[in-house]
């Protein structure tokens, strides 16, 4: 440290924006998400773990069901959604867990930022990791099970389900971040809440693969969209209220 440069430092006025509003909120959401992604690009400890787990799970399921089911499309919907849920848990608990382990969460909380902005920043980075997972898993499933999941309504349902999963998962990850048993608590809390998403996602995927008309499957898409909307709004309000307890 140098005394001369210190004098110059303290003599300069510092201006902070205090306008608030949605633009300021979004700037902070973006800052948190960008920071998480940048740190992940260096550390490779969240997305890469999820992807490797997901790919291994596809191979293991492929070997387990090989020659034992008459049609692979009978098991593919369940396998896809189980992999997304289980691989997702691995990453979700690190989103706040890493901040707690390194005590950087305190640094975030010292800043003049709404807890919901931190939440949505984490949600954005978790969503990105989950989509990356699916980007790797779907082609491998195509090869392993000879089942094409790259169909518009399957991808739409998967995207809606992933959004809902990231919303709820990020929320519970924040809630359990300070718990010593967060690795086990997160799935115990999270997976029961995800039952509607799991059921809707599996039913929609199975219906499309079975060649049923889309008009009969729209209700599953509606369930996923309603789930996403409810948790998006609820998280926005609840996170700020309960943050002291986190």
């Amino acid at each position: 440290m140098s005394s001369d440069s210190l004098r110059g430092l303290l003599g300069r006025p510092v201006t902070m924006r205090t306008d608030g509003g949605s633009a300021a909120f979004m700037r902070k959401v973006w800052a948190v998400a960008a920071k998480d992604v940048r740190a992940e690009l260096r550390a490779k400890e969240v997305a890469s773990t999820m992807i490797v787990f997901g790919l291994l799970a596809v191979v293991i399921f492929g070997l387990a069901f090989d020659l034992r089911v008459p049609k692979s499309s009978m098991v593919v919907p369940g396998i896809l959604w189980v992999i997304v849920l289980f691989a997702g848990v691995l990453g979700l608990h690190r989103s706040f867990g890493a901040e707690v382990d390194r005590d950087t969460l305190a640094g975030l909380l010292l800043a003049p930022v709404e807890p919901s902005a931190i939440y949505f920043g984490k949600l954005a980075s978790n969503l990105l990791y989950l989509f990356l997972l699916e980007l790797f898993v779907l082609p491998v499933m195509l090869v392993m099970f000879d089942t094409n999941l790259f169909q518009f309504h399957i991808l739409l349902g998967l995207s809606l389900g992933t959004l809902g999963y990231a919303e709820v998962g990020t929320f519970f990850a924040a809630l359990t971040a300070n718990s010593r048993a967060r690795e086990s608590m997160l799935p115990v809390l999270l997976l029961p809440v995800m039952v509607p998403v799991f059921m809707a996602g599996v039913s929609l995927t199975a219906g499309i693969l079975d060649g049923r008309p889309v008009s009969g499957l729209v209700s599953w898409l509606v369930i996923l969209a309603v789930f996403d909307t409810i948790f998006f709004v609820a998280a926005y309000w609840i996170v700020d209220l309960i943050w002291d307890g986190i």
């Binding site: 210190l6 430092l9 902070m16 902070k28 920071k35 390194r102 305190a106 640094g107």
Partner: protein
């Protein structure tokens, strides 16, 4: 910073603050104040409650009882905007070891809504003697460098209240001398500084007023210093 009648304005006021962890009381009716342009030192042994008190002042923990005021604003009723006025150097550096020094300060500049942050970041990194290492990941920094980055993070937004929890940890003699200079300049600039330390000599050198935290209660450290 002085009030109209010439007396220094009280920036930090702690009144009957109590805190416990489980059944163990950590702070018992702690009361003190720090004025603008004043440096107060909080001395105490390990486990005396210094860090707990600083976390409460920074708004990271809520006291079980009692009140904390920053200026005219009670901390319990203040929103997150009050955090603009506080800087904290904690036991842990509160920086991201996978990011480099520059990225860390850019991130915190965004969180504090700094206008034109780049010149400020450069000035802070230069003052902390980290400008040459700005592109290196923090995990490659020495302990002293990380501590300097933590100090830089705490003064990035130039807060009127600075809480320094054993800021000399890991610093070499030269850096401690500059830290002493920084504390003196913060005082001169009208900031209220509360610094915790185990070191009586440094407390005497740094502070205008010394408080001694013993078993969760505050004693007048100036009296203890006179007796030493």
């Amino acid at each position: 910073m002085a009030s109209e009648n010439g007396s220094a304005e009280t920036i930090v006021r702690v009144h009957n603050v109590a805190q416990r962890y489980g059944r163990k009381p950590v702070l018992r009716d702690v009361s003190f104040q720090v004025n603008a342009g004043e440096v107060a030192a909080l001395l105490g042994a390990n486990g005396a409650g210094k860090t707990t008190l600083l976390r409460i002042l920074a708004g990271l923990d809520n006291p079980e009882r009692g009140e904390v005021w920053l200026g005219n604003v009670p901390l319990a009723a203040a929103g997150h905007e009050i955090r603009r006025y506080v800087g904290l150097v904690s036991h842990r550096p509160l920086v991201y070891d996978n990011l480099n020094g520059l990225e860390n300060l850019r991130f915190f500049a965004r969180m504090y809504d700094l206008v034109e942050p780049e010149p400020r970041i450069e000035a802070v990194l230069t003052a902390m003697d980290l400008w040459r290492r700005r592109y290196d990941p923090v995990r490659t920094y020495s302990r002293g460098m990380i501590q300097r980055l933590a100090i830089g993070r705490s003064i990035l937004h130039d807060p009127p209240v600075l809480l320094l929890d054993e800021p000399d940890t890991g610093l070499d003699q030269e850096s401690v001398a500059v830290l002493t200079d920084l504390i003196a300049q913060l005082r001169q600039g009208g900031r209220a500084v509360l610094v915790t330390t185990h070191n009586w000599e440094r407390a005497e050198r740094w502070a205008d007023r010394v408080y001694h935290l013993v078993d969760g209660t505050i004693e007048d450290g100036d009296e203890v210093l006179k007796q030493r």
